[in-house]
């Protein structure tokens, strides 16, 4: 049986199991006695082992098996969870991550055996069991009895109706002095790879006996044409228990029950007993062995190709909504067709307009649904952070705790994929530079354990992710001094700099505040990379800090990248689009209200002074000789900064599809893209953020 078709499922599920293992082990560290967590860990390790085995990843299977053994000992209270063990378990997870990365890249687990880790694991068990031989345990992989499965009562052996040739088969085997058992295997309800499980059961059972008959047929089993159970007859010299144990060793098997086929069943066949039984029954067994051989062969054909595509798991409800809207779209189309055909060309314009409106509504909904399909929770990115903070706490020798909220906040898949690194940088920064050492914290009257937080939430068309700590905060004077020393700014500039401007110096390339370079941060490639990564996603980042009390980095990201609501404006003959999300209001300002501050035009609006930006000037358009009496001003904001863009006219609000200007036109930060208007004309999109 070829397992390569299951590779993607395998990778997906393994990542999930690894994540839940990591979460659980973190929990375990906090509450070593939580039985539920231990059980969950055990289950995850067990499933992982089973899946790795199915896919033929032996090394991965071996490692998880040994991990499972450790959990087993914990579960039966033979070893207590201690920090050495947690460390070791995390090492295992890293090794497993390594295997998974290899599999993702090349569909092969690689050749690293991780013997040291395995040995350490076995040492653990050995210590727990006193004098029990550790190396022997390592080799008990195939022995089945490590898993105590709870025996459920409701499962019964299914009666197998035998055909004539199969009857001969059964009695033939009995004639050879073997025992024939009828076995029914029940697979767990949530098992994804039923056929693979069945195949594994057959392989396990063939180790101890010969399968004579199976129900449904082996072809149907391979095609997964069965419910949650399948049955077979097996001839063997071994006891029933041993065969059941072999079958149970396969993971995700809920229950295996069996009984010996007794005289009564076979009696009917007494008369044909003498006939040699071979061919028809053997047809089943070679089939399975044959497919077993093709599996590795098939895998070898595609070694170097990356094994996975980027996928999004979509909630079925979202797909249903999409489907409904497509149906509506078809109805709307049909209505339009009927309007144009039935009334012989002279269709009523009212009906026509109604349909257009209907169509408009559907396309808007459809767009929303499609965007929702692309949305994934940021959980997939942030859930690796608790582990990271734990490791950092160790290496930095500082006590710290990470508090996260809003992990279920959703963002466009492309954004989520790329937000991981910047966030990681910020968290590392907090851990390394932000939090003070224990003495200083005590001196300042702060709790010994430092707090790092990550809060995510949605705000309008943006998602806000705040990362911060209750540590030292940014020493603005130190930053200025450093900048002057590096020649980034002059002393005079430093003297007049606001706190905000000074903090922004941190985002300049190659500006590291770390007094000594550490593993974690301080190579000066941190914050400027964070900033450029986030800006590349159409977002921005801001810092709020108070010396001695901590700092907060606020990352603002657009919900989606492809389609936005925009205000269309004209400046002379040209049309431009401004993202609605950045607009706060549109004002009609009398020219006489314009004031001057430091020779720059400003307006005074609702208690704030807002600088004016003449769009014609920044866009290299000939300025008008004379202003009219009033100016149309679009007020835009970015964080707490505002600016007033002077435009000639407003066209209106529109949903626009953002297109890139391509790679040829460069040096253009002001224009973030272009869009195609209804009449086919191109309008450029102004990135208002660059004007502040």
């Amino acid at each position: 049986m070829d397992v390569s078709q299951y590779l993607e499922i395998f990778i997906d599920e393994s990542s999930e199991h690894l994540q839940s293992l990591s979460d659980c082990i973190m929990n375990l560290e906090k509450e070593p006695d939580n039985k539920e967590t231990i059980n969950e860990v055990f289950r995850a390790a067990h499933s992982l082992k089973g899946m790795a085995g199915t896919m033929g990843f032996k090394r991965m299977q071996h490692l998880t098996h040994d991990m499972e053994n450790v959990f087993q000992e914990v579960r039966s209270d033979k070893i207590a969870v201690d920090s050495a063990m947690i460390d070791l378990l995390f090492k295992c997870l890293d090794a497993l991550d390594g295997y998974l990365a290899n599999i993702k890249a090349s569909a092969d687990e690689g050749t690293e055996d991780n013997e040291i880790i395995i040995k350490e694991l076995n040492d653990f068990i050995a210590r727990a069991n006193g004098n029990k031989d550790a190396s022997a345990l390592a080799k008990t992989q195939s022995a089945a009895d490590t898993e105590p499965e709870s025996v459920s009562v409701g499962k019964r052996v299914r009666k197998i109706e035998l055909s004539d040739s199969e009857k001969k088969e059964v009695s033939g085997a009995r004639a050879e002095g073997k025992k024939v058992y009828s076995i029914t295997v029940y697979i767990q309800k949530d098992c994804l790879l039923k056929a693979a499980r069945a195949f594994l059961v057959f392989r396990a059972v063939e180790g101890v006996g010969r399968i004579l008959v199976n129900r449904p047929s082996s072809q149907d089993i391979e095609d997964e044409k069965f419910e949650l159970d399948f049955s077979f007859c097996v001839a063997s010299n071994e006891s029933l228990d041993k065969i059941i144990a072999a079958a149970k060793n396969v993971s995700e098997i809920e229950e295996v029950v069996g009984e010996e086929i007794t005289e009564d069943v076979a009696r009917a066949e007494e008369e044909v007993r003498t006939q040699p039984a071979n061919d028809p029954a053997k047809a089943d067994t070679p089939k399975t062995t044959e497919s077993k051989q093709t599996a590795p062969a098939n895998k070898k054909q595609t070694p170097a190709k990356p094994a996975t595509n980027r996928t999004v798991r979509v909630d079925i409800e979202k797909l249903d909504a999409l489907m409904n809207q497509v149906s509506e779209l078809i109805i709307a189309k049909n209505s339009l067709v009927s309007i144009s055909s039935t009334e012989g060309g002279s269709f009523s314009s009212q009906g026509f307009h109604e349909q257009i409106e209907y169509l408009e509504r559907i396309t808007t909904n459809l767009h929303e649904s499609v965007m929702k399909v692309r949305m994934v929770p940021i959980e997939s990115v942030v859930n690796k952070f608790p582990r990271m903070i734990r490791d950092l706490s160790r290496t930095l020798n500082k006590k710290m705790e990470l508090y996260m909220t809003g992990e279920d906040t959703e963002l466009d898949r492309t954004v989520v994929d790329q937000i991981g690194d910047p966030l990681q940088h910020l968290l590392r920064n907090s851990a390394d530079h932000g939090l003070e050492n224990a003495e200083l914290r005590a001196e300042r009257g702060k709790p010994e354990t430092g707090t790092i937080f990550l809060n995510a939430y949605q705000e309008g068309n943006n998602v806000i992710i705040q990362v911060g700590d209750d540590g030292n905060g940014i020493d603005v004077e130190a930053v200025k001094a450093k900048a002057v020393e590096r020649g980034v700014i002059t002393q005079e500039q430093a003297d007049v700099m606001t706190q905000k401007e000074a903090v922004n110096l941190l985002f300049m390339p190659s500006f590291s505040m770390a007094k000594k370079i550490t593993d974690i941060s301080g190579r000066g490639v941190g914050l400027d990379v964070v900033k450029s990564n986030i800006e590349a996603l159409g977002g921005d980042v801001e810092v709020k800090t108070k010396l001695g009390e901590g700092s907060t980095f606020t990352v603002r990201l657009p919900l989606t990248l492809a389609i936005i609501q925009a205000l269309l404006v004209t400046v002379r003959e040209e049309k431009y689009a401004i993202a609605l999300a950045s607009i706060t209001s549109i004002e009609d300002i009398p020219v006489k209200d314009i004031k001057y501050v430091e020779a720059r035009e400003v307006i005074h609006l609702r208690d704030s002074v807002i600088p004016l930006v003449r769009l014609d000037r920044v866009l290299d358009i000939e300025p008008k000789a004379e202003d009219g009496d009033n100016l149309t001003v679009v007020i835009v904001k970015r964080g707490d900064q505002q600016a007033g863009l002077v435009v000639d006219n407003l066209i209106g609000q529109q949903e626009i599809v953002i297109k890139s200007l391509g790679k040829y036109i460069s040096g253009n930060k002001l224009i973030s893209g272009a869009t195609i208007l209804g009449d086919g004309e191109v309008a450029l999109i102004i990135d208002a953020n660059t004007l502040m």
């Binding site: 890139s660 460069s666 253009n668 004309e681 191109v682």
Partner: protein, 155 residues
């Protein structure tokens, strides 16, 4: 591509589209040409390199359009009814439009007959040319596509 190979077994040839820019005729390797479109409204892009005239909407895609004249350091284009935009398609960087005064014809040149000796780096304009082809009595300068795509400007 297949046809090209079959031909190449006999005589190695290349096909060029001949365009007119000013008084001169230039050949563009046909393999790089995706499309030739009529002059249409070009949306100016502020702050772009000066030789970019702007962007156009080519069947729903935004395609930047370049003035090859300005890039070569010649006077600005005079747009007439004969003006065309040649859409070049290059794998890595996507489509690019180039404005030409007129599109003349498609010619097939024998590679052996392309004169490369006349190409020198002395004249700035010549660096956009990788050879001279002869079409009957006419001389045709053959564009080096990569030079057109490169980000630099001749003055």
């Amino acid at each position: 591509m297949a046809d090209y190979k079959i031909e190449s077994q006999e005589v190695e040839t290349k096909q060029y589209i001949v365009v007119q820019i000013g008084n001169e005729k230039y050949g563009i390797d046909i393999r790089y040409i995706d499309n030739i479109v009529r002059m249409q409204k070009i949306t100016r892009v502020p702050k772009a390199q000066s030789y970019f005239k702007g962007v156009i909407n080519l069947r729903g895609e935004i395609v930047p359009v370049m003035s090859i004249r300005k890039k070569m350091g010649l006077e600005d284009d005079v747009i007439t009814d004969a003006s065309r935009i040649i859409i070049l398609k290059v794998e890595e960087k996507g489509s690019l439009g180039v404005v030409v005064d007129q599109v003349r014809e498609v010619i097939t040149l024998n590679i052996a007959e392309i004169d490369k000796s006349g190409v020198s780096a002395k004249n700035a304009k010549d660096t956009f040319i990788n050879g001279i082809g002869k079409n009957g009595e006419e001389l045709i300068s053959l564009f080096e596509i990569s030079a057109i795509l490169e980000e630099r400007e001749m003055n």
